[in-house]
Amino acid sequence: MQFPISKPPVGVIFDSAMGDRIDDALALALLYGLDGKNEARVVSLSVSRTNLASAAFCEAVGKFYAGAVSGAFNSAGRALPVGLSLPARGHKPDEDTPMLTVPLSKKKPDGTLVYNHGIHQLNDTAEVAPLLRNACTAQHDQNAIVILTGPATNLVALLDLPGAREVVAAKVRLLAIAAHDTAMKADLTAVRRIFKEWPTPIVVAGTELGDALPYPAASIEKDFEWNPNHPVVDAYRAYKAMPYDAPTGSMAPVLYAIRPKEGYFKLSDPGTITVSDDGRIAFATDAAGKHRTLTLDPEQKDRVIKTYTEIASLKPVVRAPRFPRPKADAVKPDPSKPEPPKPEEK
């Protein structure tokens, strides 16, 4: 006999093309901020950009928050690795970008790297489809959300895994997409299949929404002063010459999906979304449709930007491990190994 157990915070699966756009990094900071406030748990990180540094950056951000925050590196009593899709046959891997390489190569005075990560070769990353499926299986029914800010390649791979569709239908309550034209265009077949086949409701934030809500450079300058080293801030500075206000397209789906009732955005009636050849989305109202769009609510603009900057700049929350290792002096923990796993949240 088990006690009725209260559900843990919603589990978030975050799939991006980390390295292409700076708002992906901001979205990740926002996500970990909400994790720290116990409103969500990051349960999976994966990238559709076929570049080792993309995965490494995600892991570095995760580790930056982990040890402190449960996060993907400690959730469900285990360390989930970062998923990475492989280039299609005959294609070259995607290139490194400064927003990845600058923070990843940042060194301390003693010459060691500032941001730790364990991704040095392909085998340090995970197969994407099983990773996403496995992350879903560890969630309570209807207590997971999927955030997609890059091409839909990885989500299609998930759907094509035998049995995974049923898992997604059971566990995931929402897919929230940042529909950047370039990302949509990068894998048109995939995104069209997602809109046709994905078994849960989908909410889409178009490019315009991100453009209308710029992230103030001033926040980067002052809100993160609590730590001279922050991987997202370093990425931001490397992405473009400062000061600049970045569009925040990738942040909207995170904020909406975790706080759907806050009224930050205008939510459309149900409908159906199609994607044109140039990657733009078109929405048609349809009472039976499973898609909705998020658009700007001018009255909420300041509030949303305030929320973005406040939460994205939150410090990692130190949660004491439930079971501190006794006799820590007996064997020094191996820093190259992931943190000892933490038991499942009860």
Binding site: R78, N123, E127, L131, T137, G163, P340
Partner: protein, 443 residues
Amino acid sequence: MTRKSIHRRTFLRGLGAAVALPFLDSMVPAFASTVKTPVRMGFVYVPNGMDFRNWTLDYEGPLNKLSKIMSPLEPFKQDITVLSNLTHNNGRALLDGPGDHGRCCGSYLTGVQPRKSAVDIKCGISMDQLVANEIGKETRFPSLELGMEDARQAGDCDSGYSCAYTNNLAWRSETQPLPPVLDPRAMFERLFGADAGLTPEARARRDKFRRSVLDFVASDTRKLQSDLGPTDRRKLDEYLSSIREVELQIERAEKDNARIDPKMEKPYGVPPDFAEHFKLMTNMLTIALQADLSRVFTFLVTREGSSRPYREIGIPDGHHPLTHHRNDPALMDKVTQINIYQMQQFAGWVEKLKSIKEGDGSLLDNSMIIYGAGLGDGNRHNHEDLPTILAGRGGGYIKSGRRIAYRRETPMTNLHLSMMDRMGVHADHFGDSSGRLDGLNLA
């Protein structure tokens, strides 16, 4: 060499007596061109994970220096493949709470998450049984299940998981585990017959009687079943299908009148010494594989979560309590010692398999034997990077002598699918598989 070879059968009949195996082997070259050597598949499972400090290799590709625990395999490193990062997601808690030992063993060959229940067991059909169902009709025993440790007799097994999950590897159906044979004598009698003293006529008559008894009870059961509730009917379904299995065995034995002379004394009882017991069991298994009595086996060396002490090597503490060593180096070393000791026994068997010539190669070459554990590190209870060594070349298909590290979260069931392919049993997917394993099919 297969038992189907008409030449051999005629030959044996003409001889009219039990024939020793080495003699059979000498016949092989004459028929080698016409008869395909079968591939054998098996699993040797050790419990409680490994001491990972002394398990992992830090390189990929050709095997060079082996880890401490693998070191007994040093002389055979060209014959083994070390596979890393294979994961059993269904061994993880996935909301079911504690019970990693129960789960990891239940999911090991089934690829599904066992139902957490002490009585209402539900797992999945295991991959060895999928293979046995397909190719088992060609041999006397579709599959063989062996073990060395008697099941715990009282109390709970693991945090609400039925002992059925930790006592068995092979599952014939979702609800029906196949218990391993533990006693060497029982194994001997099963393989080579308890009827050593019977004349062929007496044996034929006995089989006839057995079949009539089975006919009788089967028809009785069907009558009985017609007005039972679903649960009771399911119990009797199990009974009926077991009857059919025994009938098939009799049929197969009748078709092939040759008796295998194992050239060994019938063992009595269970040897108290671990190495001795292991050797006896694998000796018989070797003969069974060599004589093609079966091509599929599972060997649960000790039950998952086993607390057997290893006095043989001066370790009076139970295996399972030791694995929760709290990073005390003295205790961790004992775990390593147990891991090595078990590996030594396995290496001894590999040596034996390699020494048996078969066609152009050895019995080992024609086998795929997984030596593995259902937990990664026994202390951490993790289900990724499960210790996995593949011994043999699967009939010359596997380029051995290497370590292959797969990408993380690669399902263990992908290995199962690849092995099933080699056994000629093709499935689109199995358990939580996401595809086949690369690198295992390079001749």
